[in-house]
């Protein structure tokens, strides 16, 4: 059963549609409120499977046209029964239809290997819970900037189909300002900054 709560509102070109995935009632309510306050259109589901069904990737076609359902960002909890957030991330990044959608993983646990594997698998960001409004607002700004650049790239007939691969090379600042280090014990040099430039960067250490 797909448990979906969808906000119906006019989707302006600047309004992000965020799909939030979390098995916790409390966390779903909180993330939904945070996103609405940030003027995002929100769909909240309780499991990875429901998320895939909503995205039309679970063998079922969406009942509405894909454009209306267009999701600009997926925020998923890591620890969920059945399909974990990591597994959901892999499925999304493994889908030609969906891999362009940025995915952010959330967890109450700050585990380096977990963060690394999510970033390597293509997660845009790894947020440590509990979520704050500033987390969501920074995320939104970052995604909107990325969308603008994508539109420009598409308009100029860019050959690259990899989402934001060019942007990653020229947008270090937004990523840096996006990251905050609440509850983090990071080494001074995040791993992925040292290797492949096309890798997404993990959260950088900043003091509050």
């Amino acid at each position: 059963m797909v448990l979906v709560k969808k906000q119906r509102s006019n989707c302006s070109s600047n309004e992000l549609h965020v799909l939030a995935v979390d098995d916790s009632f409390v966390d779903r309510k909180v993330v939904e409120r945070l996103l609405k306050i940030s003027s995002c259109k929100v769909t909240v589901v309780e499991s990875g499977r429901s998320a895939l069904q909503f995205l039309g990737l679970d063998g079922e076609t969406s009942c509405v046209g894909f454009d209306e359902l267009k999701v600009n960002l997926i925020m998923t909890d890591y620890s969920m029964p059945g399909m974990t957030g990591y597994e959901l991330l892999k499925k999304i990044k493994g889908s030609s239809k969906l891999r362009e959608i940025p995915v952010v993983v959330m967890s109450s646990e700050n585990i380096m290997t977990r963060i690394d594997s999510c970033i390597e698998e293509g997660a845009e960001e790894f947020l440590v819970k509990p979520l704050k409004l500033s987390d969501v607002e920074r995320l939104k700004d970052f995604i909107l900037k990325g969308d603008d650049k994508n539109r420009k790239n598409n308009n100029s007939n860019s050959l690259s189909r990899k989402r934001k691969s060019q942007d990653d090379l020229v947008l270090p600042m937004p990523m840096a300002t996006l990251c905050s280090a609440r509850n983090h014990d990071f080494p001074s040099q995040p791993k992925s900054m040292l290797d492949q430039p096309l890798q997404k960067q993990p959260r950088l250490v900043q003091t509050d």
Partner: protein
Amino acid sequence: MQKQLAKMKQSLFDQGYLDEQFIQLEDLQDDANPNFVEEVVTLYYRDSVRLVQNIEQALEKNPLDFSKLEGYMHQFKGSSSSFGAKKVKTECTQFREYCRAGNAEGCKRTFQELKKEYATLKKKLEVYFQLARQAGPVEKACRPK
């Protein structure tokens, strides 16, 4: 009445029942959603009843399934932390440490403490929310859009 409310909130913070996350959530309230935090906490109570039952049942087994217990407590800790229930969260953390150490007595003892903290917080928040409803919505600073 706003003063009384602020005083009570300060006291809850000073005594360590709540942390900053509670304020984060209160800041999300507005005229259209004046009782958002109370709604979150109500959901939390409902969720917690189920978790407490599961944990109690699991604690009666012999030997204990520490992995299962840790899983329940992970959920409990997560939701407690999401609205700033500091003392409850601390007990959850302690419980998980006992799970990892395979310490059954530690788990059982900590669980009793956890239930006490939970019950105390619940009582205090009931008074707080009642006062908040009477005091009416507070003027919120403008949020950046």
